[in-house]
Amino acid sequence: MFSNKLKDWHGTKSTPQSGKAPGWAESWLRWFCNEDDLEIFMGDLQEMFQLRMQRRGKSFAKWAFVYDVATLFRPFFWKKIQPHYSFAMNRHFLKASFRNLRKNKNYSIIHILGLTLGILCSTILFLKIRHELQFDTYHPDADRIYRIVSTVENPFETNYQPGVPFPFREAFITDFPEIETVALIDANISNLIRVPDEEGKDIPYEEDGLVGVTSEYFQLFSYEWLAGNPKTALQEPNQLVITDEAAIKYFGTADAMGKQISLKKGRYWEIVGVVKAPPKHTSFPFQLFKTQDMEDAKEWGMYQWESVSSSVQCYFKLPENITKEAIESRLPAFLAKHMKEDKASRTTMSIQPLADLHFDQQFRIGYGKQTISKASLWALGLIGLVILISACMNFINLNSALIFRRAKEIGVRKVLGSGKKDIIRYFLIETSLLVLISFALAVFLSELIISRISFLLDADLEMNIIRDPQLILFWGILLMGILLMAGLYPAIRMSQLSPFMALKNQFKPKWKQGISLRQGFMVSQFFIAQILIICTLIAHKQMKYFQEAPLGFNKEAVIELRVPDEYNIEDLVAWRSKMTQYPSVQGVAFSNTGAASDNTWGSNYNYYPEDTLQPVVKGNLQVKAVDENYIEVFGIELLAGENLRYSEKIDQIMVNETFIRQIGENDPQAVIGRTLSVWGQKAPIVGVIKDFTTESLKEKIVPVALISQTSANNCAVKVTATDIQEVIPQLKEAYTSIFPNGLFEYQFLDEEIEQFYESERRSSQIFQISALLAIFIGSIGLFGMISFLAERRTKEIGIRKVLGASISNILYLFTKDFGLQLGLGFLLAIPVAWYVMDWWLSDFANQVSISADVFLIAFIASLAIMMMTVSYRIFQAARVNPVHSLRDE
C-alpha cells in the first residue's frame, strides 16, 4: 500500500522538526492561483514541506517551498481574468453620483469651492513661472549669446556695471576677430520722436521703446520680419526698423516701409524694415530701432573709455569651438591696452550668458522689465504648491470621511452583486465628477481673471488653451494626481468591506489611523495660513515704512516736468521766470536727475585734505548736477557752509554727511573750502547738506556731491499744496509759450517715488492674497470637517444636552481639539516665518524689525477666525432639540 511506502520516506532526521511554511510565499500563491487548483497545490506543498523538514531540516524545507511556488507561477495556473460585463453599470454610477452630490449639497459646494481655488491658483502660478523661465529662450543659438559686464572695485564699494564705454565695440572687434557677431545696444538716447502726419506737420511723441542698435543686433536676436531685409537693415546710418505695433500706432498701418520719422530737429530717418513685435517674454521690449551712431557721444565728450552708461550694452555670439574662459582670460590684457591704468587694474570684465540676464540681481538690465531672482520664483512656486496642497488636503480629508460613512450603502450594493472593481469604479466616478466640475470652474475663472492678474504678477500673461500643450499636460497631471489621491484610497478601502459587517453597522474604518492623518492635515493648514499671515503683516509694515519714512527731502507738492532735449540757457531762464510768475509756484529747480531717482550718475573723486602731507583720498560718489534753487525746492537741509550760486561750470560742490564720514571727518565745517575733483574737474566744497535718499529706501545712502554745472534733464517745481490741480494748466501754458514744439509732460514727485517700490508692493500684495486664500481654504476645510464631525456626533451631543451640558460646554468640547492644533501649527510656523521674512527683508538697506507683536496679532487673528468658523456650525448643532437627535434610526 502506498501508506507503507510513505512511511519509508519519512523520518531520516534524528529529532522530529517543526515549523511553519513561509506565509508570504503562501500569500503569493493565493494571489495568483486559480480557485480550482489552489487547495490541491496548497496541500501538496504543505505535505512536501513536512517531508522535507523531516529529511533535511527546516531551512531547506522553507527554501524548497518558495521554489515550488515559483514553479507554479505559470500562466497555466493563473486566475482567469473575469470579463467585466458592467459597462452598463456606468450610467447608473453616474446617476447615483449626481444624486449623491446633490443630496450632500453643502459638502459638495465646500469641496468644489476649495478645489477650484487650489487649481486656479496653481494654474496661474504655473503660467507665471513658465513665463519667467522662458525669457529670451526663443533666439536661435541662445546658449552662445553673451553680454559684456564689468565689476569695478572702488575703495569703498564694488560697482556692477552692465554697460560698456562707447569705443569698446570697435576695439573688441579688432582685438577678437574670431568672434562672429558683436552688437551694441544704445538706450541712452532721448525718447522724443516726431512723426509727420498727413499734412507734413511733425507730431511729437514719447517713444520709450526707441533704441539705437548696430546691424548685428538682428543677427543675434530673432524677429519675425514682415518687410525689409534682416541681413542689411541698419547697416547705413539714419535708418529705422519698426515693429508692427508701433507702426500701427504712428501710421495706422503696419505697412510703414519707406516712411520717415524725425529723431532730431530737421533730420529724418527712413524706415527700412518692419518686424513683428517680440513676445512678452523678452528682455528687449524695443519698438523702434535706429542705426546706432556715435554723434551725440562724441559731441558731448562721452566717446571715451572713462565714461560708461549702464544703458549702453554690448552683446555677441560666441563661436562653437571657443569657450567662455578662453575669451575672459584675454580680457584683462585687452582692458589694460585701452583703459587708463588705474581704472583698468580695478576692473574685471567678464561675459554673461543670455540665459542669466533675466534673473540677474547684480548687474540688472534696465531695458524694460525688472529682473526677477530665481529665489523669488522659487518662493512663488512654493506658495502656489502650498495652496494647492492645502486645497487637496481638504478635499481628501472630507471626501474620505464622507465616503466612509456610507458603509451601509456599500453593504447593500455588495449584497446585490457589485464586485470590488465595481465599487472602486463607483467611487472614482463620483470623485471624478467633483474634480471635473472644479476643474471646469477653475479654467473658466482663470480665463476671466488672467488679464487682471497680469498686473499683480508683473507679467503679461496670456492663456491660450488650444495652442498650449504644456498647459494641457499640466492640467492633465494635476487632474490625475488629485483624482488618485483623493478618490483611490477611500474607494479601495470601501471595496474591501465585508457586506456582513457593513450591514450590521459595525463598520469602523481604521479610525485611529484616519484620525492622526486628519489631524496632521489640519495642523499643516494652520501652519501654512499662519506663516502667510505673519509674512503679510511684516510685508505690510515694510511697505508702510517705505511710504512714510522721511527721505531727507520734501516730496509733497513737487511736480517734475520734462525738459525738452534741445534748449539753451536763455530758454531755461525765461521758462523759470514765466513759471514763478504764478502765485502757486514757489520755486523752480533744474538738475540732472531730481532728488530721488533710479537714474544715478557716478564719478570717481579725489579729495585733497588740508594738510598737504596727507594722501589724497580717492573714492566713488554719486553726482547730482544742480542749480541754486535745488535745495530750497526740495527742502534739503544745509548743515554747514552755503548754498551753490548760479554757475555754468563745475566750480562749486556741496557734499552730504555720508561723504564726510567716508573721508574720515566728523565736523562738517572742516571740509568747507577743501578741494574735491569730480568728473575730472577740481572745485572747492562750499557747503555740507544733510543726507537725503537719492535712490530708494531699499539702498543705503551713499556719498553724494551736488555740483554746480547745470545740465538740465529734470525740472522740479514746488507748488503750494492747495492748488495742485489748478497749477497744471498754468505750467503747461508756461511751457508751451517757451517751447511751442515741445511735449508737455509732468509727474508728481511722490507718485514717481512710489514706483520705486513697485515690485515690493507687488510682493506684499501677493503675500496678502496668498494669506487670504490660505485662510479661506483653511476655513473651508475646517468648516467641512466640523460639519462632518457635528453630524456624526449628533447623538452624542443630544445625550450631553440631556445630561445637562450647556451650549458653551459643547462648544468648548469641539473647539478644544482644534485649538490645540492651531497652537501647534502656530509654534511650527514661527521659525519658518521668521526665516522667510529675514531673507526677504535682507534685500533692503532700511528694513523694519521682525517684532513680537506681529506674531501675536497673527495668532490672535487666526484664533478668532477659527473660533468663528467652528462656533457657527457647532452652534447650529448644539441647538438641536435632543428629542430629534436621539431618535432611533
Binding site: 487548483d37 496541500g43 505535505e47
Partner: protein, 108 residues
C-alpha cells in the same frame, strides 16, 4: 483518440499513474518518479503535465483524502482512462517492434 502526441515526460507521468494505481496524486507521483528514475521534476512541471494529460483525455481525476500533513487539504487522485491505457499500449508496442528490428540488441 483526442491527443496528437505526448512528450517523454508526459509519458513518464502517465506510466507512474499506472504504477501507483489508486495512490496516484501529486506528491506520490513526484516521489515515485524520484525513487524510480532519479529525476526530480518540480511540482510546477508535474502539475503542468498532469493538467495537459487530463486535457488530452488520457487521465481522469477525483478529489479526496485530506490529511493532517496537508493542513487538512484534499488530494487530487489521477487514474488512467481507457484512452490513456490504449496510448500506453500503442507506445509500448511501437517501441518493442522497432527494438526487435535492431541488429545486435538482446531482446529476450
Amino acid at each position: 483518440m483526442k491527443y496528437t502526441g505526448i512528450g517523454a515526460f508526459e509519458e513518464l507521468v502517465l506510466l507512474m499513474i499506472g504504477v501507483l494505481d489508486e495512490d496516484a496524486y501529486g506528491v506520490a507521483i513526484k516521489e515515485e518518479i524520484a525513487s524510480q528514475t532519479g529525476k526530480r521534476p518540480s511540482i510546477g512541471a508535474l502539475h503542468s503535465a498532469l493538467k495537459r494529460l487530463e486535457g488530452k483525455g488520457l487521465i481522469s481525476s477525483h478529489e479526496g483524502g485530506a490529511t493532517q500533513e496537508r493542513g487538512g487539504r484534499r488530494k487530487r487522485f489521477y487514474q488512467l482512462t481507457n484512452a490513456g491505457k490504449e496510448a500506453l499500449m500503442e507506445s509500448y508496442q511501437l517501441r518493442n517492434n522497432l527494438f526487435k528490428q535492431i541488429k545486435g540488441l538482446a531482446w529476450d
